[in-house]
Amino acid sequence: MIFAMLGEAWRAMGANRLRTLLTMLGMVIGVGAVVLMMSIGQGAQYAIKQTISAMGSNLFVLLSGNTSSGGVRSGSGGAHTLTVGDADAIAELPGVQTTAPIHTGNAQVVYGPSNWSTSILGTTPNYLEARSWQVVSGAAFTGSDVRSATRVALIGKTAAENLFGDEDPVGKTIRIRQSPFVVLGTLAAKGQSMDGRDQDDTIIIPLTTAQRQVFGTQFPGSVRMIMVQAATQEDMPAVEKSMTGLLRQRHRIREGMDNDFFLRNLTAAADSAEESTRVMSLLLGAIASVSLLVGGIGIMNIMLVSVTERTREIGIRMAIGARERDILLQFLLEAIIISVGGCFIGLLLGIGGALLVETLTGTMVIISANSVVAAFGVAATVGIFFGFYPARKAARLDPIEALRYQ
């Protein structure tokens, strides 16, 4: 019987093709918009998640404070107030996973005939751990390299490509500011940081080597920054507090005076970026859903017109034995076919649109099975919800009145 009803619904829709198509269009646009928005939103979310996981989790960065001499202020890091000792002391605090003192600068690097200016990062092996940065070939330097200030280097993907081309950098000797360094290993690609910097355009060397042989220091043991990793996200507020207290104490800063260092919560910034993308994609989805709602109302509108137009037909059907539920099912099926049909076309257009956006703008889009299933579910629900009232109206008609209707 359901097949007979489906056939009849199909025939009724075919009898008024233009109207059926226009009604479907509401659903097509609604579903298309939802799928497109969700794909773009999820793509953006995924991109940010990747950036965050590339950065490492639960991270703080401590930067040295600024100096001012004769009214010229140096900006953060100008005064080298942080020391390796600070980093070691912070590592002892409860809730701190690891710390890595960092000394950075830019330098011209030479390998054979090629040369490249890149950022040189002097640090300890802890840094790789904190940022969960893998060495893909060769090996990382160790604590003893740091202690004895050996001239070894780990090279990022971009720097390696520019210096070595297709050659394997491991074991080769490069010159940083004239000093020879042996490349121990190459680093995994990290991609762009949140501010768009290429994180792979870098060379990592032991902290002590950077301090003593490449950049020099204001005083022995001073560093520009310290990376601190908390054990868990829940530890972060407590670590922030105890770390500030400890540093003020170590730097002998009196009550009421400003810190001589800056503390940044990297994860919080990333989290808020992720949160704002999430809210954005939710918002886009919500706006798109409104068009789905409007599409649903369009279906209800047309079904009501259809019920009125076909009042006499309903009367005839009742006279020859249709029960209320038969009439209800007939009109409900029509509404569902329109909404699911529209949904299907909308889905194709939405996916097509998302792929087009990806091709044209290079923005990452993700078409998840979830959003497809959700769109279908919503469309069917909209069809049932908005089709039910007109269908019930048809089913509740008085057969005598309906038969008399001209």
Partner: protein, 237 residues
């Protein structure tokens, strides 16, 4: 007149009234009627006499305000909407003045429509519908649309549809009202033939010419039965 035991329709002190703005309007007052199996009854009366209301009650499209209506052994007053629909599907066949075929369906589909509502398989539906179309002489037009055939042919299709589920009772409401007298006579001849095969027919008309084809005439006036006579001469014809 048939015996009480073999009656298709048994009506006892039937009342039907409608709410109107001027108060309660009694359309039928204290109607008693018995129709036996195999009868051919013409219900007559001027407009407003209550004959249409009476037909709606007979056809289970409406329920009486008071009194008893027993159709084929079942008291209609106690039945729910679905059971009434089932009676309309299985026990009663309707023929209307305006034919009331569904315009977007072929004749075959129109005739098989009642069978959808009793859940019959498609092949069996088509077989039965074809059989009935053959019975009214329109087998070759099975795949035509209703607007492509004449009024008389449309009414034949409507009769085929009314009979497709093998009802005990055929209700016809002014079935010749929209037809010229020649075609009307042909339709009446078809009714007589069907009646001879044993089906009970109740026919509403205001034309004496048409009523003469029936074996029994029941006259309504102001909601009451004012005449009930049986004519035997037509049976022999």
């Amino acid at each position: 007149m048939g015996t009480m035991t073999d009656s298709v329709i048994r009506i006892e002190s039937l009342y039907k009234s409608y709410e109107t703005s001027a108060g309660l309007f009694p359309a039928l007052k204290n109607v008693d009627l018995c129709i036996a199996s195999g009868e051919f009854v013409a219900v007559m009366g001027p407009s407003g006499s209550g004959k249409s209301t009476f037909m709606n009650l007979l056809g289970c499209l409406d329920k009486p305000s008071a009194g008893r209506y027993v159709l084929d052994g079942r008291d209609v007053a106690n039945l729910g909407k679905d059971e009434l629909a089932l009676l309309r599907n299985r026990t009663i066949g309707f023929v209307f003045q305006g034919f009331n075929l569904l315009p977007r369906m072929t004749l075959l589909e129109n005739v098989s429509l009642p069978l959808i509502y009793c859940g019959m398989e498609r092949e069996e539906r088509r077989r039965r519908a074809r059989e009935l179309l053959a019975k009214v002489g329109l087998e070759d037009k099975a795949d035509s649309m209703p607007n492509k055939i004449s009024g008389g042919q449309q009414q034949r299709v409507a009769i085929a549809r009314a009979l497709v589920n093998r009802p005990r009772l055929l209700l016809a409401d002014e079935p010749t009202g929209n037809l010229d007298s020649q075609t009307g006579e042909e339709i009446m001849a078809l009714f007589e033939a069907l009646n001879r095969e044993g089906i009970t027919i109740v026919l509403v008309t205001h034309e004496t010419e048409i009523a003469r084809h029936a074996k029994r005439q029941v006259k309504f006036h102001d909601g009451r039965i004012v005449g009930d006579q049986t004519t035997h001469n037509e049976v022999a014809a």
